[in-house]
């Protein structure tokens, strides 16, 4: 029953929010409590998985290949916990005030629908169900992005909607072809049946379809162009939610589907993933350096660092995949906190154009120091979590003798440092330019700083608990590469023996 909670709790919260009078404090409190409960459920799933192995729930008591199965292995459980954390930070940031028109249009309920879709996608053990959760999550994000938009921002929303729907169509096509050949939709059953029934041509076509579908959602080169166009436009809290969760669901789906269905690391598709990840890192960071708007810089950084999270899949070793998972955890925390930091500027200066920012360090040194942690962590300065995650990824590259790739990653780290140093210099350090002075800039109170502080604390926590976290991430990677373990956990031990 525990496994259903991360899906049921946000749904219940979203429904309950409709019965609360709009624009009341109770609304925000309930939304926040719902996210806290989601986090608690995620943590208890993680604890259960850590001590008792892969958890399986057959919804409606239908036996495995026939009904919908919810499965939590360590990777899923970690991702659900992260969903809860980002959810808590984002709903917490609404205490500092939300645009009242947005709130009247169901802003809080939509956030919970999105959280439900994300947790569902992380927990499902059925590929068509994964498609459905993707759509739940997307439609909620569509509405969040396009609520009360101005003219230029509507264009960004349309780019976002169009490309994501195209990705969904590719995904659905791949599912249809897969079902036609394998006759099942359950991940475990597919992992068992597909390698026997596949034909080389169909295998290649399917892997490419999955790669394009998830590549668009994750924001891999050359499919990422919608992301820097659309992520900078919504309000900072929504930006943090999208940046922290949505692209990561694409990465999660890619890792899940490829480890289970295409267990042949010498296939062409893995070379493609390797090359795409490397180019994504380079192009994303070069793009970031050319930008002046803080949120566009962050969006390009988001794209560039996605490359680090997919490269582990291409290398196909427990160390590399574990490094990528650790990177994913670190990146979700850091990028959401940086998007929330951009919200601080938006509130105080009404812009995130770095040319008009500055003087933050002089005015509010505490806030500047708070923002410094995720900035340096993203750049990979020791001893912060970004350094540890990068060390794990680059170390695994050297171990598997991808020296050129390791060199690219290190060069990209330098570019990130350059980009982050520029953000620090332009938005915090330099004196505030005179002409962009807002009369009586509102001081940033505790309510708006608390969510940033929460995420920053967790980043530091991840740094301090680096060793246990890395071990959990490596165990998660070993579970991902051990397909038989997954299959027997879902279908029962007898299935594998009968097949042999």
């Amino acid at each position: 029953m525990l496994l259903a909670l991360p899906v049921v709790l946000p749904l219940a919260t979203a429904i309950a929010l409709h019965f609360i009078p709009q624009r009341s404090r109770l609304l925000r409190l309930l939304a926040f409590l719902g996210a806290l409960l989601l986090l608690a459920a995620g943590v208890s799933v993680l604890v259960r998985v850590q001590y008792a192995g892969i958890q399986v729930l057959q919804v409606g008591a239908w036996p495995a290949p026939f009904g919908i199965t919810l499965v939590a292995d360590l990777f899923s459980a970690l991702m659900v916990v992260m969903t809860g954390i980002v959810g808590v930070a984002v709903t917490g940031s609404s205490f500092a005030g939300v645009d009242p028109r947005r709130e009247g249009l169901g802003y809080h309920a939509l956030i919970h629908v999105l959280l439900m879709g994300v947790s569902g996608a992380f927990l499902t053990g059925d590929i068509f169900n994964l498609y459905v959760w993707f759509e739940v999550m997307l439609i909620a994000s569509f509405v969040l992005v396009s609520l009360h938009r101005t003219r230029a921002q509507l264009h960004a929303a349309f780019t976002y909607v169009g490309l994501n729907l195209l990705a969904s169509a590719f995904f659905l096509t791949a599912i249809g072809l897969l079902y036609g050949q394998a006759g099942t939709l359950n991940f475990a059953d597919l992992a068992r049946a597909w390698p026997e029934r596949r034909t080389p041509g169909l295998d290649a076509a399917l892997s490419m379809l999955f790669l394009s579908a998830f590549g668009i959602k994750a924001g891999l080169f050359p499919l990422f162009f919608w992301l820097p166009a659309s992520y900078p436009t919504p309000p900072a809290a929504v930006g943090a939610l999208l940046a922290g969760l949505l692209t990561k669901v694409g990465v999660y789906a890619m890792i899940r589907v490829f480890t289970l269905l295409f267990p042949n690391p010498s296939a062409t598709v893995y070379t493609a993933i390797l090359v795409m990840s490397a180019i994504t890192m380079v192009v994303g960071l070069i793009g970031a350096i050319g930008q002046h708007d803080l949120r566009r810089v962050l969006s390009f950084n988001l794209v560039g660092h996605i490359g680090f999270t997919t490269v582990g899949l291409a290398l196909w070793t427990p160390a590399a995949l574990g490094g990528s998972i650790l990177y994913l955890l670190h990146h979700m925390l850091v990028i959401s906190s940086l998007f929330l930091v951009s919200g601080l500027f938006l509130r105080q200066k009404r812009t995130t154009d770095m040319r008009a920012l500055g003087g933050m360090y002089r005015a509010q040194p505490f806030v500047a120091c708070l923002a410094l942690v995720p900035l340096f962590s993203l750049a990979g300065i020791p001893p912060l979590s970004g350094f540890i995650a990068k060390l794990a990824v680059v170390g695994s590259m050297i171990e598997s003798r991808h020296y050129f790739l390791a060199a690219i990653s290190l060069a990209v780290s330098l570019l990130t440092l350059l980009s982050m140093a520029r953000v620090w210099e332009e938005s915090f350090w330099k004196p505030a330019p005179g002409q962009a002075h807002v009369a009586h800039p509102p001081r940033l109170g505790a309510a708006i700083l608390a969510p940033v502080a929460f995420l920053v604390t967790l980043t530091i926590g991840l740094t301090l608990a680096a060793d246990p976290t890395y071990r959990v991430a490596t165990t998660a990677a070993q579970q991902l590469l051990d397909r038989d373990g997954y299959v027997s956990a879902v279908l029962g031990n007898g299935v594998l023996r009968a097949a042999r």
């Binding site: 759509e135 569509f142 003219r151 509507l154 264009h155 349309f158 169009g162 969904s168 249809g176 939709l185």
Partner: protein, 114 residues
Amino acid sequence: MELLLAVVAGVLYAAGLYLMLRRRLAQLIIGLGLLSNGSNILILSAAGVTRGKPPLIAHPEMTGEPFADPVPQSLILTAIVIGFGVLAFALVLAHRMHQSTGSDDIDTFGPDRA
């Protein structure tokens, strides 16, 4: 029958993708609709079409007889519902864009010219 369905699915994909590359909003949305219908037909034909048989097994002793696979049909039903919702949303968004700019040419919405 399968051949006909395969050709229809191919034509729908081609037309849908072509329309999505156009600059006009209305064409983009029609393209999305065609694309989702194309994938529905593809699911139906890829899973194999069974003629004149019910998708149910009436008696336990009839398990050996051929029956139509109900799973692709339920997949398509779900996909139709999702596609309908998404299309309705895209239409509203396009309507709002048309209201705010008086044009349905995507290039006139760009951040550079707004």
